[in-house]
């Protein structure tokens, strides 16, 4: 479930893979400003990986509004 540790671990694994940083730590409050390499194209890659991992599909309009890890968590919760 969004919010628990296992969920954040799965998200963190995706961030690590897509941003190519095996030691990266994220929290719900992480934003593109404080995570190195998290630019708009990285958001797209992360979304693609999240959609695969959680077997869901976001609307393009929602993806535009992703500005933090918690935004992604909220989206997953609303689609699953």
């Amino acid at each position: 479930m969004p919010g628990n540790d296992d969920f954040l671990t799965r998200l963190e694994a995706i961030f690590r893979a897509e941003l190519d940083d095996p030691a990266l730590r994220i929290s719900q409050s992480s934003t593109p400003d404080d995570v190195e390499g998290w630019d708009s194209l990285a958001t797209i890659r992360i979304v693609a990986a999240v959609e695969r991992e959680f077997d869901c599909q976001f609307d393009a309009a929602d993806i535009e509004n992703i500005h933090s890890v918690s935004d992604i968590s909220r989206l997953i919760a609303s689609y699953s």
């Binding site: 893979a17 897509e18 190519d20 095996p22 194209l41 797209i44 693609a48 695969r52 393009a60 535009e64």
Partner: protein
């Protein structure tokens, strides 16, 4: 991931152990392990892991040596796209390892490619690419419908083709390296009414015409084509495109298609570097026919019309037969009693393949990996040119484990599903189609016969004489161009300098008065060997300098270099050059010619720190050896002028 949703079903699925292995930090993943892992079906994320591990090894001080020992060829690729392409870079590097390449990529993306190339020319040139990929997708062409207007439709297609041709020109003018073009998939957002199939100028017909013209452009320029239309057709446009990802990020195709695209692109790039599949090795029991001939008997084999499996086995044989016509060498590898299996092969009424189709039968009880190694020696071809098809998962795993170079397609359990999987893999991709392709498998058969004759004959000289070899020599010309370019692209072993020239560069040499070129064809008592050797010799100030000397390994040990040297000496004398100079540039595969010039009587004059050796032969003192080969030569009037009158 369920079995049916996988796109590249010919690749084995990673085990949980493999999935753990690929997550290890790069310094714990040695290159051999990396190469092994690259053979599996990974998603884009894991391909990125492969890429970063490969990058780690390349950047080590001993990186070049490590890569050479892992037989990875370094390649620099410029990827030009009208859409987003950055996300393709790492998956392409990861997929490249699967095809024996360590790719570096420069991306020129997003926008009008012609303008981008103009703007970035200096940067592209500084990157020193080996190959350029002009990855224009469906959005890069303006195909507005002109319904019911055939002339207007033709005009639209020609306008779009000429823009592509301009890009092609820009590239050859400024960088002059081989190019890979793309066909396009019909945009899934465009009209797909049934009636469009019959209306002139409909979008779907424009796309079809455009793709035909792109194919023609590639044929004329000697470029390769990545047939996106075919890839998209095979997976379905609904899967190929993602309107959402196009809208959000200008992805030219859906993110899930990235591994397929990069796999197929890497395969084409590898082809430009002489890495192609030329041999198909087939198992017998439950592969070419259903059942086990030794247990069930010939009469009970499942083959041919009447049962779904029987028809599927016959269809597999038909596919193999078709490949043979494209020049692929077919071999049989089976654990069986030879007499029993051969009898079934020869006499079963539903057999599509005949004994004539098979270059070598290996029917014995030995380990298949060991058998394949023997086969590679017999055919004088590298194991990386082999594809091994066997229904038995254990045999597949054994060969994959023992011989990482051999391509071993994973096959569905049900034989009726095999062909779509095998065909989608595009194992036997080539750079074009020539008469030699059609006849090549016959050469290998004839070669085996020649070797058999050698065993019967006494002295080697007698053997060579008995072959009644006739060599036809010509300067480069239009007729030979495609095959010359093919040999230059593919020859790895008997190749002194491994310089690759594209078809257009070969064409330019035909008219170059400062170069002597030779294409050699060889006939013997067993038949026509086709074109077997190519030499490019430049007229340097005090010598005839050999830029390129390569030969097909099918005709090793036939005294051909000696015969050609006699001709080169004649050429040097004609041009008034006192000597012939040649160099040997070591590569991972050309050790066999390290002593080529020494064996021909050249003197070593210099050794460079990178292992390149330079050799010279004074031509006046050269005593031509009698050759068992009769040379016939057409000398054209366009041959270079002699510089002074002597010899």
């Amino acid at each position: 991931m369920t079995v049916t949703s996988r796109i590249m079903r010919w690749l084995p699925e990673p085990t949980s152990g493999d999935s753990e292995a690929i997550r290890r930090p790069p310094d714990e993943l040695d290159l051999a392990e990396l190469v092994r892992l690259s053979r599996f079906d990974w998603d884009a994320g894991n391909l990125r892991r492969l890429a970063s591990a490969a990058g780690y090894w390349r950047n080590r001080p001993d990186g070049q040596d490590l890569l050479r020992s892992a037989r990875l060829q370094g390649v620099r690729v410029v990827l030009i796209s009208n859409a987003t392409a950055k996300h393709l870079v790492e998956p392409l590097i990861g997929s490249g390892i699967r095809h024996g390449l360590l790719i570096e990529v420069m991306v020129v993306e997003y926008g009008d490619p012609q303008a981008a190339v103009e703007r970035e020319t200096a940067a592209i040139a500084a990157f020193q690419p080996d190959i350029v990929v002009a990855a224009l997708d469906t959005h890069g062409f303006a195909l507005s419908e002109s319904l019911g207007d055939a002339a207007g439709a033709a005009e639209t297609v020609e306008r779009e083709i000429s823009r592509l041709a301009i890009l092609r020109q820009q590239l050859s003018r400024t960088i002059g390296v081989p190019v890979i073009l793309h066909t396009i998939a019909a945009n899934s957002e465009a009209s797909r009414l049934h009636v469009d199939a019959s209306i002139e100028g409909s979008y779907r017909r424009l796309v079809a015409f455009l793709n035909v013209r792109i194919g023609e452009l590639a044929r004329e320029s000697g470029d390769l084509v990545l047939d996106i239309a075919s890839l998209a057709e095979n997976v379905g446009l609904r899967s190929w495109f993602s309107a959402r990802y196009w809208a959000m990020a200008k992805y030219p195709f859906a993110p899930d298609m990235v591994p397929l695209y990069t796999d197929q692109l890497a395969k084409l790039i590898a082809l430009r570097f002489g890495k192609s599949k030329r041999v198909l090795v087939l198992d017998l029991d439950n592969t070419l026919w259903g059942g086990i001939v030794g247990d069930d008997g010939k009469e009970s084999l499942v083959l041919g019309p009447g049962s779904p499996a029987g028809e599927a086995h016959a269809a597999l044989q038909q596919m193999a037969k078709t490949l043979r016509r494209r020049g692929i060498v077919l071999c049989v590898s089976s654990k069986n009693e030879e007499s029993v299996a051969l009898d079934a092969f020869r006499t079963h009424p539903e057999m599509v393949l005949t004994e004539e189709d098979i270059a070598v039968f290996q029917i014995n009880w030995q380990d298949k990996a060991a058998n394949l190694s023997t086969l590679a020696k017999k055919l004088d071809l590298g194991l990386d040119s082999f594809v091994f098809v066997d229904d038995n998962p254990a045999e597949r795993a054994r060969v994959r484990f023992a011989l990482t170079d051999v391509a071993v397609p994973e096959l569905p359990r049900d034989v009726t599903e095999w062909l779509p999987v095998l065909q989608a893999a595009n194992y036997f991709e080539t750079t074009g189609f020539t008469r030699e392709d059609r006849e090549r498998s016959d050469y290998y058969r004839a070669n085996i016969k020649r070797a058999a004759q050698l065993e019967k004959l006494g002295g080697y000289g007698d053997y060579l004489e008995s072959l009644a070899m006739e060599m036809e020599l010509k300067p480069f010309d239009v007729v030979g161009r495609k095959r010359i370019a093919q040999l230059i692209a593919k020859s790895n072993q008997f190749n002194l300098t491994t310089r690759r020239y594209s078809e257009s560069e070969v064409a330019a040499l035909e008219a170059d008065p400062t170069v002597s070129t030779f294409q050699a064809r060889l006939k013997d008592v067993f038949g026509d060997n086709g074109m077997i050797s190519v030499i490019i010799a430049r007229h340097a100030s005090a010598a005839l300098e050999i830029d390129t000397w390569l030969m097909s390994c099918r005709v090793l040990g036939r005294s051909i270099p000696e015969a050609l040297l006699n001709r080169l000496v004649e050429e040097a004398l004609r041009l008034g050059k006192p000597s012939i100079r040649g160099s040997y540039v070591p590569s991972a595969k050309n050790m066999m010619v390290a002593d080529h010039y020494k064996n021909l009587g050249f003197d070593l004059v210099a050794t460079e720190s990178n292992g390149v050796t330079w050799w010279e032969l004074p031509v006046r003192s050269h005593q031509p050896k009698p050759s068992p080969i009769k040379i016939s030569e057409e000398r054209t009037l366009a041959a270079p002028q002699r510089e002074n009158v002597d010899g």
